[in-house]
């Protein structure tokens, strides 16, 4: 089942055509990456998907609902965690619920129930500054999850983390996706990360989807997948598409 789809999106800023007939879809439980060079229109596409930008033409559907240009349905997460320093972690995380009209108490209760699953237990009453980089990303992810009913848009969420934390976060993320039934659309410019995590990879180049690659290796969830020859084959292929 398709949970999120963008159909024939066109978007320009002044003279510059940033998105040119872009169609992507995300199926239930999938992790799909958007891979492309900087300035390729990835972030613009995310802003269209999350309803912040109204596309010049084309539609965005969340399940069966037309959400084109309607913010509040699909939230995203950036490399910057954007946790508000003056709010406690619990209030940061429950902010989307508060914005959607829940009372502060209700919002805190709903969000609080997920702290253990996200490995954030005990940080509820802390301020974000007291958390490590990995923990902050988890909190930001929980906030995204609470904002958008089963779909997460992630814009290079792990690129500021050190290698070890990053690979830990990858493993953790794949696990939690399964646990809370999350579908993810993922922006990255890191080919390795894309192959390692994705079910499918879209290549976005010059405002167009130029290629779609399915990663269907049997080894794909194996921790040493990135050391196999198959991995390198994928990498070679994708690299050639990007050039």
């Amino acid at each position: 089942m398709t949970v999120l789809s963008a159909n024939h999106i066109y978007k320009s800023f002044g003279e510059k055509q940033v998105l040119n007939d872009v169609s992507v879809c995300l199926n239930d439980g999938e992790l799909v990456s958007l891979l492309g060079v900087s300035g390729g229109g990835k972030t613009t596409l995310f802003n269209v998907l999350s309803g912040i930008y109204l596309p010049d033409s084309g539609e965005v559907y969340l399940k069966d609902e037309n959400v084109t240009g309607k913010p509040g349905k699909v939230s995203y997460m950036l490399q910057k965690d954007l946790l508000l320093p003056y709010k406690k972690v619990i209030d940061n995380v429950s902010l989307p619920l508060l914005i959607n009209g829940k009372s502060k108490k209700e919002a805190r209760e709903t969000a609080g129930a997920y702290f253990e699953i996200f490995g954030l237990d005990g940080t509820q009453e802390m301020y974000p500054d007291a958390l490590s980089g990995g923990m902050r990303q988890r909190a930001a992810l929980l906030r995204t999850y609470l904002a958008s009913e089963g779909v997460a848009l992630l814009d290079e969420p792990f690129s500021a983390l050190d290698t070890i934390t990053k690979s830990r976060m990858h493993k953790w993320y794949l696990e939690i996706m399964k646990e809370i039934n999350l579908s993810t659309l993922f922006i990255t410019h890191d080919i390795d990360e894309a192959i390692l995590l994705s079910d499918r990879i879209y290549i976005l180049n010059g405002g167009r989807i130029t290629q779609e690659t399915v990663i269907d290796s049997a080894e794909k969830r194996n921790p040493d997948f990135n050391l196999t020859g198959e991995f390198l084959e994928y990498k070679k292929k994708i690299k050639s598409f990007l050039e």
Binding site: G51, G72, V74, L82, L84, D129
Partner: protein, 265 residues
């Protein structure tokens, strides 16, 4: 020698030592009659004048403090409205920013008598003067705070479906609070001075009036005493602002690292 000094400064705080040394010099100057006693009273005379006049000064100070606080509150309200509008509407920003800056170049001393002429000898001209002197630093502090808001944070809230008011409440306003307090700290010291200047130029109560009275009587000891007293009042007001700041910004406690916590070796 240096080591010895450091030992001393390690036990008592440096500003206390500075003040003590200055007081000793002052005392010596008076004792040695380098400056005639009627021009420069000795610290002991000042202390005596302070003690014998404290009740009277306190009574007058209540008037001054009232003017300062009322003016400050009105200044905050005005600054808040103007800064918020200036941040929201660019044309208001462009229209008022130069006026704001120019208003700061007008010497308070010069407009105070005008205000007294227009509004009489009551509290009105004094409060007005306090508003004029205080609202600028507060408005600028707030404006800078608003402008420092991260556009990504605003977009994130929009993606959650937040309206303008919610964005203001959850992002813009809290981001501006530290800037607001830096402005308010400066403004609180201006407030007392503003009230004093207005009193100095007309009226029949307040510390400023008291100052003109002791000046006319050439009571130098009382003048020094009242200066000390005014400093204390200003410091008290600033400390009060600090206290409110601490209470309203609990998350900052973990972040502010003061230089004295860094140990030198």
């Amino acid at each position: 020698m240096i080591k010895k000094l450091r030992n001393i400064t390690g036990k008592t705080s440096p500003p206390v030592i500075t003040v003590a040394v200055l007081l000793i010099i002052w005392f010596a100057v008076c004792k040695g009659e380098i400056v005639p006693a009627f021009m420069l009273p000795s610290p002991a005379d000042v202390a005596r004048a302070f003690a014998s006049n404290i009740e009277y000064m306190a009574r007058e100070a209540i008037v001054t403090l009232q003017e300062a606080v009322y003016g400050l509150i009105a200044g905050i309200a005005l600054a808040f409205v103007l800064a918020t509008l200036m941040d929201k509407y660019d044309f208001i920003y462009k229209a008022f920013y130069p006026l704001l800056v120019i208003s700061q170049t007008i010497p308070t001393i010069a407009i105070a008598p005008l205000l007294v002429l227009w509004m009489g000898y009551g509290m009105a001209p004094r409060i007005t003067l306090v508003i004029i002197t205080t609202f600028f630093p507060i408005a600028i502090g707030l404006l800078d705070g608003y402008k420092s808001t991260d556009i990504d944070s605003i977009n994130l809230l929009r993606s959650m479906g937040a309206g303008r008011l919610q964005i203001f409440r959850h992002v813009k306003l809290p981001t501006a609070v530290p800037g607001f307090f830096s402005g308010l700290r400066i403004a609180s010291s201006y407030a007392v001075i503003g009230a004093l200047i207005a009193e100095w130029l007309g009226g029949n109560n307040g510390l400023g009036v008291y100052m003109t009275r002791v000046k006319k009587a050439y009571s130098f000891d009382k003048m020094f005493a009242v200066i000390v007293f005014i400093c204390a009042v200003s410091l008290l007001l600033m400390a009060f602002v600090r206290l409110i700041e601490r209470i309203s910004l609990p998350y900052r406690k973990t972040r502010i690292s003061r230089p004295e916590t860094i140990k030198r070796r």
